[in-house]
Symmetry: C2
Subunit: 418 residues, 2 copies
């Protein structure tokens, strides 16, 4: 890669991945004197907590995704390159991409996680929700199911088309189930003449004993009741044995379905393989308290990819908040290192609370000992998510989309793209 | 298709195509006592005059496209079916689709037009702009060219990647050229570190003597000067001989280009073939003053597909305004016909003016003898386009997007989707 001679004396920090962790690391390095390069195979950073709203046609994709280079445009020391990373040579300190090699002095790996199908090849049968293209694919399938039901003359086929199965009762599964129910029960009925969307069945399958297992039992019970009140069938203790194009098999039951969505398993990106280090069963890389990889002091691993035990012995959860905190810590640690110093304290995750939305006027929030449900929870959830959007424009547009959807029940992004 | 016995006595009007003409026809038939069915292979109606803003990342696709069934949701006599029409049997009075046959008493064909490459197979090398998927494909290519230039170390390859050729100097070609120039000169420069977007070349090729030939010479000269001031190279009397993936050949000149766009030729959809009638060189079907096809009194052909001479002997232009007027006329004519009457007057196109935008603060408007250019023209263009959007929500969102783009020069929809 080209460089001026003045630049060539500056230390090179390469960040792989422009998600919450990678962006936070770049921002924490502003003005550090390092030359920073962000590599990502996408041109955009995506606000994953609202992806389910793109998948269910409430928001347009550009409302929750922005070019990475736009976010860091004021940091003249940051170069963003849209490249697909294929490996890392830690001996030569070089990142290998589809187009070229990029040398680093310090490497930050923040490539996140994707879906896991536990060894099955169900990606196309039951798509998961991690990227903008996942969201538009899911939107397409959901909207097409209703369109096909309207065209069909066969009541059995219509019933199948209007059956939506979501596998996995974590926050994403719950949010998808709640939003699909709103789409079917509130948004679409006035527009269909032959196949009534209100007849849609929305089924949420969870292998464990309860949904939203990361929350206290009371909140998870509230969420289940709230979903059921909105017409979602919640089936716990139900694991999936087979997925086909038109049906899903759980134990001795078979559910014929128009759309099957996957929100069950998560698997880290293949970075452990690039770095030649060990990973846990889900691909995560164990890091030390300074977020570097044992044996590779120049390599930081942060975000969903990092496996780190908290002070209370539990792993730091894979959340936007923890990813940002790790990014900021790593950025500061690298600044100190460039000055020949090292951070005084190990990384410590601060839990500012967890929240999940279920649907209109319904969400659960846990902030330390405070627990919110119903409308107060939903309002809190909305305000927090608007606040964390990347800029004023997005805040205004998302807030206005929500107000319009709240008032009219219409969803503004109901395009079936080819 | 299923129907109740009360419904089965109502006359069946089938409208093929949910564009400006088809929607206007359905709306003019509201409460007529007919059962109306709209068939379209897309689920959405698209506001084509603003498609170029989706292609150049100023607007998100859902801001200019809405489900057809949403637009006509209050007309309980309208059923919308997402089906691809494959033919018409005018003897049996049946429309053949990919899934079923649909019988009609009166048929309205409003399937519009697509690009014409004059017999060449350049669709993929030089995409045109007629649909939402065209717009997102073009957006992807434009944004990728800048990303690839930023990654490349080769100055010759960079120069090629940042050369944008638009073929055709009609309104769409002019609008694309102007908007790409804004993208390159105003939006992107602060965000690139290696390949300066200001070095981009934007070349508009026109085979005729002047661009915007439908406008008076003075306005077309103004447009050319305005484009050139914004850094667009305008080459008239230049026709295209060859298109390749990385270059375009005009006469003895070859232009190496990163993106080639096609805004030159238009060809009507294959409806003449379905109906077994004659068409002109561009596929249009000649209609009578009542907009029916000679010899097929039950078949109306409207919009860009219809070939009709105006009172002054010129063909009615293929515009959104004329499509809407034809749709309204056909709808009213069918209402009268259902009452056993026929319209007193032939269709007459009312020219309320034509307008084209060139870029920031620059547009041309012709309203009868009034001609506007520059900022007044641009303001008039903006207000008119906001006014014609389908609903309040879209008006607010598009207006706000424009205000944000005007103030910040950022463009809010810069996602490269896969």
């Amino acid at each position: 890669m080209q460089q001026s001679s003045a630049d060539s004396r500056k230390p090179r920090v390469v960040i792989i991945g422009g998600g919450f962790a990678g962006i936070a690391a770049a921002q924490a390095l502003a003005g550090s004197g390092a030359r920073i390069t962000i590599l990502d195979s996408n041109n955009h950073h995506c606000f994953q907590p609202l992806l389910y709203q793109v998948a269910t046609a409430a928001l347009a994709a550009p409302e929750v995704a922005w070019p990475i280079r736009h976010i860091v445009r004021r940091q003249k020391d940051v170069t963003v390159l849209m490249l697909t990373v294929e490996g890392v040579d830690t001996a030569r300190k070089v990142v290998k991409t589809d187009k070229c090699e990029i040398g680093y002095d310090v490497l930050v790996v923040a490539t996140g996680a994707t879906h896991s199908y536990f060894g099955h090849n169900w990606t196309n049968l039951a798509p998961g929700l991690k990227s903008i293209s996942d969201a538009t694919l899911i939107r397409r399938r959901l909207l097409l199911a209703f369109e096909r039901a309207e065209v069909s003359d066969d009541p059995i086929e219509r019933e199948r088309l209007l059956t939506f199965v979501i596998v996995g009762g974590g926050p994403t599964g719950v949010e998808l189930a709640g939003a699909i129910s709103e789409l079917a029960r509130r948004t679409l009925p006035p527009e269909f003449r032959r196949a009534d969307p209100r007849n849609a069945r929305i089924i949420l399958l969870e292998a464990g004993r309860r949904i939203l297992a990361g929350f206290p039992e009371r909140l998870s019970d509230y969420a289940r009741n709230s979903l059921e009140k909105n017409g979602v069938e919640v089936r716990t203790d139900t694991s999936v044995d087979q997925v086909f194009e038109d049906r899903i098999v759980t134990g001795d039951r078979e559910i014929r379905a128009g759309v099957i969505l996957w929100a069950a398993g998560v698997r880290a990106s293949p970075a452990a393989h690039w770095l030649g280090v060990e990973s846990d069963g889900t691909g995560r890389i164990a890091v030390g308290g300074d977020l570097t990889v044992p044996g590779l002091p120049d390599v930081y691993v942060i975000g969903d990819l990092a496996l780190l035990m908290d002070s209370n012995g539990a792993p730091v959860p894979a959340l936007a908040a923890s990813a940002k905190q790790m990014g900021t810590y790593a950025g500061h640690a690298i600044r100190l290192r460039l000055d020949g110093r090292s951070p005084k304290k190990s990384f410590r995750y601060r839990d500012y609370g967890t929240l999940a939305t279920i649907g209109r006027n319904s969400a659960i929030v846990k902030l330390g000992r405070l627990e919110l449900t119903g409308f107060p929870g939903w309002l809190f959830w909305s305000v927090v998510h608007i606040y964390f959007l990347v800029n004023l424009r997005s805040r205004i547009f998302v807030a206005m989309s929500w107000i319009a959807t709240y008032l009219t029940s219409n969803r503004g992004a109901r395009i079936i793209a080819r």
